[in-house]
């Protein structure tokens, strides 16, 4: 298939993903918005008032970048696992496997859907936060780039999860037992500087810390980790996970007999 054909195919998968996200908006867009509103009310307004300032910002302002990141991570991951595993489970993944589409087109098509949902929910959460506090945008390019790279990393990770999943339980295990703890321990609600040794050093093994820190740097101009190592970690994960996904698709792991 030529370049134009690949673009048409890519657009077809992306279009299907958009339709799917909008068709089940009650499952894809609504719940994260409600959950995050509750976070803002409980942690930001009720508890946050007693905590006071963090690095010169109100607690509500401090946790907003973390909560936006948390939404992007869980929704990018969740969209990829549910959509790709759904296609596998319903066997309509075969529509794509018998076609001349190269693996990268299939991957990018699903990636676009996962990113769309992750970034849309992230924007929604950012919008909701404005109902509770005022925000500044310190560096918009860093903010956007971090959001996009984080969405890609977790969409790719979700793809690998969906490839190996055999039942619906398998796509719930990683978010519950890995993703959620790592997110909570990744500096969403606190600065790692507050942690005693050795927990502060151990926290640096958590990749989510680098993403939350870079995003907070972009929005508020403060972060736990310098931008260079943060972007190195994100780009490293994109390359590693992307190559793994292409290899899995090429070999047909979990898809072809």
């Amino acid at each position: 298939m030529n370049g134009r054909g690949n673009l048409v195919a890519l657009g077809t998968i992306a279009h299907r993903e958009v339709i799917r996200i909008l068709r089940i908006w009650g499952q894809t867009l609504m719940p994260p918005a409600i959950t995050m509103t509750l976070y803002f009310i409980i942690f930001g307004t009720l508890i946050g008032r007693r905590i006071g300032e963090m690095h010169g910002f109100s607690y509500m302002q401090y946790i907003t970048p973390g909560l936006v990141m948390m939404s992007i991570i869980t929704n990018s991951y969740g969209n990829m696992t549910s959509s790709f595993f759904g296609a596998k489970f319903g066997r309509y993944i075969e529509e794509m496997l018998v076609s001349p589409m190269p693996p990268w087109v299939i991957l990018c098509g699903y990636l676009s859907g996962a990113m769309l949902r992750g970034l849309t929910v992230g924007t929604l959460v950012l919008g909701i936060s404005l109902l509770f506090t005022h925000l500044q945008m310190h560096h918009i390019a860093i903010t956007l780039l971090t959001a996009i790279l984080t969405s890609i990393v977790f969409a790719l990770a979700g793809f690998i999860n969906a490839v190996f999943a055999r039942k619906f339980d398998d796509i719930a295990i990683i978010p519950t037992f890995v993703l959620t703890p790592l997110t909570y321990l990744g500096g969403v609600f606190y600065s790692v500087d507050m942690l005693p040794s050795p927990w502060r050093q151990i926290s640096h093994a958590n990749p989510i810390l680098y993403m939350v820190s870079a995003f907070r740097e972009g929005m508020l101009g403060i972060g736990d980790i310098a931008l260079l190592p943060s972007f190195a970690v994100m780009l490293g994960f994109v390359a590693l996970l992307g190559a793994t996904c292409i290899m899995l698709l090429r070999r047909g792991v979990g898809m072809r007999n």
Partner: protein, 310 residues
């Protein structure tokens, strides 16, 4: 210049991780423009073979070429020429038939405007246009099968593979599907059909291969295959009650009830001989039919299922 065969299989092998050898060194050639039947008992390896050709199954040895293009070396170019209707329903049940078809075309790089026009044409031809905007889950089993055929035509394939397309479909819809298959074959599409309805294979196909235990045990044209049948059994219904059946050297008669009987007749013998003996015995035959489909008899014999034949 001669046209490359539609499909060439060379020493195709497939051993599943549990050790089951589904295909053992299968070689086969199917000419362009053919309407070819691939038959075999359940578990013989038909779907594995089709799976390898359509890239849904990874083979463990050998190669396949579609119109001279290797599916391993030039997968994309080979797949662009194939349409596949799998045995199991593999539709997204939440999507509408029109969307399913248009998307399928998109996966082949076909622009949306062209895809819309093709989808309407094939959905109309397969009598699904009035269901085009309903979710696939609301369609009946027969409609879903026809939708899978319409979907497989979206890239206008040169080779269409139908894996038991009429399974569980009523006779009226089955006949309309036969008509469609004949029409696309006449228009130049090579068709490979697997089916459990041997009457379907006999009526539709010109050439046939029989696969059993992962090996091709017969590969010939339908006429030559049917000529291998040395004995046919006819069931006769008579006008009046039978008194005695005639005795003829080469024909064996068996009474079924008071007005019907069976006659085992060597294929070398013409039917005039049978009727002459019946006329001489004063028996008037009202109707006659083959006891079993001729291809079915041969199939049972070749695959070793003699019990069912008896």
């Amino acid at each position: 210049m001669t046209q490359a065969p539609a499909l060439v299989l060379r020493n195709l092998c497939k051993t599943y991780p549990n050790g089951v050898e589904a295909l053992k060194d299968v070689s086969l050639e199917i000419s362009a423009g053919d309407l070819f039947a691939l038959l075999g008992p359940n578990g013989a390896g038909k779907s594995t073979l089709i799976g390898i050709v359509s890239s849904l199954v990874n083979g463990t040895g050998g190669d396949a070429e579609v119109f001279g293009i290797s599916i391993h070396k030039h997968r994309s170019a080979a797949m662009a020429m194939i349409g596949i209707v799998p045995q199991e329903i593999n539709l997204n049940q939440f999507e509408k038939p029109l969307d399913i078809c248009v998307q399928q075309a998109g996966f082949y790089g076909i622009r949306r405007s062209v895809a819309q026009e093709r989808a309407e044409r094939y959905l109309r031809e397969l009598k699904l246009w009035d269901k085009a905007e309903l979710p696939a889950r609301t369609l009946s089993g027969g409609m879903k099968r026809r939708l899978m055929i319409a979907r497989s035509m979206m890239n206008e394939p040169r080779l269409l593979i139908l894996d038991e397309p009429t399974a569980g479909v009523d006779i009226e819809i089955r006949r309309s599907m036969w008509k469609f298959v004949r029409a696309i074959n006449r228009a130049g599409t090579t068709v490979i059909l697997t089916t459990h309805y041997l009457e379907e294979a006999e009526n539709l196909c010109r050439n046939i291969a029989i696969i059993d235990h992962g090996r091709i045990i017969e590969n010939t044209d339908m006429r030559s295959l049917l000529m291998q049948l040395d004995m046919e059994t006819f069931v006769m219904d008579c006008q009046a009650d039978l008194e005695a059946l005639p005795e003829v050297d080469e024909i064996q008669f068996r009474r079924i009830d008071k007005r019907s009987f069976e006659a085992d007749l060597p294929c070398s013998l013409d039917l005039n001989r049978l009727f002459a003996s019946l006329t001489a015995a004063g028996i008037t035959v009202k109707s006659m039919r083959n006891k079993t489909n001729r291809l079915e008899e041969l199939f049972m014999r070749l695959t070793g299922d003699t019990e069912t034949m008896a």
